[in-house]
């Protein structure tokens, strides 16, 4: 509806008397809030009605005002309206209901605070548990790896085809020692280098098999990995060998032994 149609509809006049239907009442309330022109028109209408009512005024006895204020003061002192039960009930319910809802609101706030605190606590616990779990998993992985290495080593040692060869310390390192396990069925070679001193920076041990009096490259030996001593490790295969020896060479190794010999042992 356009503004001028609203104004000329007569609905505003009925609304002022409280005579509009529920639907009309909602419409008019919305127009009043939406259109300043409609609100201004409504104001003039109600001002006219006020004037009209004043034109029909009947002055009440002065005793009415006196009694009224006596009641109000009594009410203020006693918090009771003695006029009628209806009125008393209304006043009571107006006062009690909000206080009940105030209690509910206060309880809700307390519950909320408690819930937030519990959430923070639980979240921290959850984080702690998560960290613990990660640490435990890391430990477990490390142990599993260690176990795997040990098992591999054990399987080499326990293998019925395994021929152990002790390599003893020479001049360069009299205390050094190593053990080679040669599988006579497959020719696989494993070395336990745990009793070799750590190789200096930039150097690495190299295994040699002595075949027909000549040294043949058996592969590079790792003495440590991430701080852990390397235990039994697989080297190059040898169909046959007379002896095994370990020399210290530059990191990538040499085709023929150049560096000092640390340990050696005959089959």
């Amino acid at each position: 509806m356009e503004i001028k149609d609203i104004i000329s509809s007569g609905l505003l006049e009925l609304y002022a008397a409280g005579l509009t239907t529920d639907k009309e009442t909602n419409e008019v309330a919305q127009w009043l809030a939406q259109y300043p022109e409609v609100a201004a028109e409504f104001n003039v209408i109600t001002a006219c009605i006020e004037e009209y009512a004043k034109g029909h005024a009947v002055i009440p006895s002065p005793s009415v005002k006196e009694k009224l204020f006596a009641y109000i003061n009594q009410d203020a002192n006693n918090k009771v309206v003695p006029l009628s039960y209806k009125e008393t009930n209304k006043v009571l319910s107006l006062n009690t209901v909000p206080s009940f809802w105030r209690m509910v609101a206060a309880a809700s706030v307390l519950l909320l605070i408690g819930s937030v605190a519990l959430n923070i606590f639980t979240y921290n616990k959850y984080n702690e548990a998560g960290n613990d779990l990660v640490a435990t998993k890391e430990t477990l992985n490390a142990l599993q790896e260690k176990n795997k290495i040990t098992e591999e080593g054990m399987s080499v040692v326990q293998n019925k085809y395994s021929v152990p060869v002790s390599l003893n310390g020479l001049e360069a390192a009299p205390d050094a020692a190593a053990k080679v396990f040669w599988m006579k069925n497959t020719g696989e070679v494993f070395i336990d280098a745990s009793n070799l001193p750590d190789a200096p920076q930039g150097k690495q041990y190299q295994l040699w098999g002595i075949v027909d009096g000549k040294p043949v490259d058996g592969g590079m030996i790792l003495t440590s990995k991430k701080g852990d001593k390397y235990r039994i490790q697989k080297m190059k295969n040898f169909g046959k060998a007379d002896a095994f020896a370990v020399t210290l060479e530059p990191e990538k190794g040499n085709p023929t032994p150049q560096g000092p010999m640390y340990v050696m042992g005959k089959m």
Binding site: L14, C48, H56, A57, V58
Partner: protein
Amino acid sequence: MEVVQKYNEEELVLLLQRQDQQAFAYLYDNYAPALNGVIFRLVEDKALSEDILQEAFLKIWNNFTSYDKSKGRLFTWMMNLTRNLTIDTLRSKGYKKQTKISGDENSVNNLQDNNSGVEKFDAMGIRKQLTNLKADQRLVIDLAYFYGLTQDEIAKEIGIPLGTVKTRMRTAILELRKMLQYS
């Protein structure tokens, strides 16, 4: 001599929301005669009218927080509250709603006959202007604002179709505005 404090409507509403007794006294002095006029039109009994007036003002005092100024001026709220209370009281006391008013009855003169206090009221100027309002226009205003009839009841009382009640209201109020010199 008592100092008479004057309030505009906004101040009055704010103070009444805080249960200010001085503001309430001002409200009573300014509106009790007009509201009593509304009640008196319905009950036509001075003592009963004043009982209802007192109860109406107590209601206004105790339920003032339910007044929503976005929904119209203070007087309109008080007038509708007072009229509804009067109609409820009449019903509970076994009265029938007084709807027997004829179009050519001069209610202004009747009121002057019924209550001597009226003549002292300073709204005499308005009263004179209102006598110029056409009888059928006065009737529709009275039925709606004083008697609180529904649109349906107004249509039956005047003998017009329901659809024309709105336009009749509009015309009557426009005429009233002219008379009160509102643009």
